[in-house]
């Protein structure tokens, strides 16, 4: 059973565009929602994370929007750059517990 569902599977945008990646979860006990960026041959690296008591968090060009009632959250990348081309994973967890990851979104930013 997939605890976190992620879409789309792949995304292609032009440089400067705003890719949006969406995730949905079922378990209302989750209280931490990170986004990880992974380059080929590397481990996932934390980009940004949010807790359910806020609806939006922004760090640099990355923004998480969180909708607690719909149990959905999304990642927006402003002014996307070719260097942002990577695979992005959403995840969810409870404190003192494992991460449940989405299936990943492969992003390609065309120069």
């Amino acid at each position: 059973q997939q605890q976190v569902k992620q879409s789309p599977q792949s995304l292609i945008v032009q440089k400067g565009g705003i890719p949006i990646i969406n995730c949905a979860y079922e378990n209302t006990a989750f209280d931490y929602f990170p986004w990880y960026q992974q380059f080929p041959g590397k481990g996932p690296a934390l980009l940004i994370a949010i807790r359910p008591d806020v609806s939006e968090k922004k760090e640099g060009r990355f923004t998480i929007s969180f909708n607690k009632s719909a149990k959905q959250f999304s990642l927006h990348i402003m002014d996307s750059q070719p260097g942002d081309s990577a695979t992005y994973f959403c995840a969810a967890s409870k404190v003192r517990n494992q991460f449940y990851f989405g299936t990943g979104t492969s992003l390609t930013v065309i120069p």
């Binding site: 041959g41 996932p44 934390l46 994370a49 991460f99």
Partner: protein, 114 residues
């Protein structure tokens, strides 16, 4: 400072063989996690340690998989009688404490079972 390191970076073995994968967490981190990432998928939880003890091993797929962390630092994931379906990237992550949410991932060990 140094991040999480994993050795070897690549391991090729034959079906039925035994393998050990090593993880060196960030110094001082007490929580350590193992995940398995199959091609085109997100990481899937295997086991986590708080100190020396396995706090949750519910993700281990079967009794061929075992992990230890005898001194509360380095951890070894052990796979007996490897099968072709075990082929994946095995990721290790560490965290300052189990109640600190962020997990810092290593580069992974790519295991190929022929």
């Amino acid at each position: 400072g140094a991040g999480v390191s994993q050795t070897p970076s690549n391991k090729v073995t034959e079906k039925g063989k035994y393998v050990e994968l090593r993880c060196d967490p960030i110094s001082g981190h007490t929580a350590l996690y193992w995940y398995r990432q199959s091609l085109g998928q997100g990481p899937e939880f295997l086991i986590y340690f708080q100190g020396t003890g396995a706090a949750d091993d519910s993700g281990l797929p079967n009794d061929r998989f075992f992990a230890v962390r005898p001194e509360g630092s380095v951890s070894t994931l052990k796979i007996q009688r490897t099968e072709r379906g075990d082929s994946a990237v095995y990721l290790c992550a560490s965290s300052p404490t189990v109640s600190y949410n962020e997990q810092f991932f290593g580069p992974g060990t790519r295991l190929t079972v022929l």
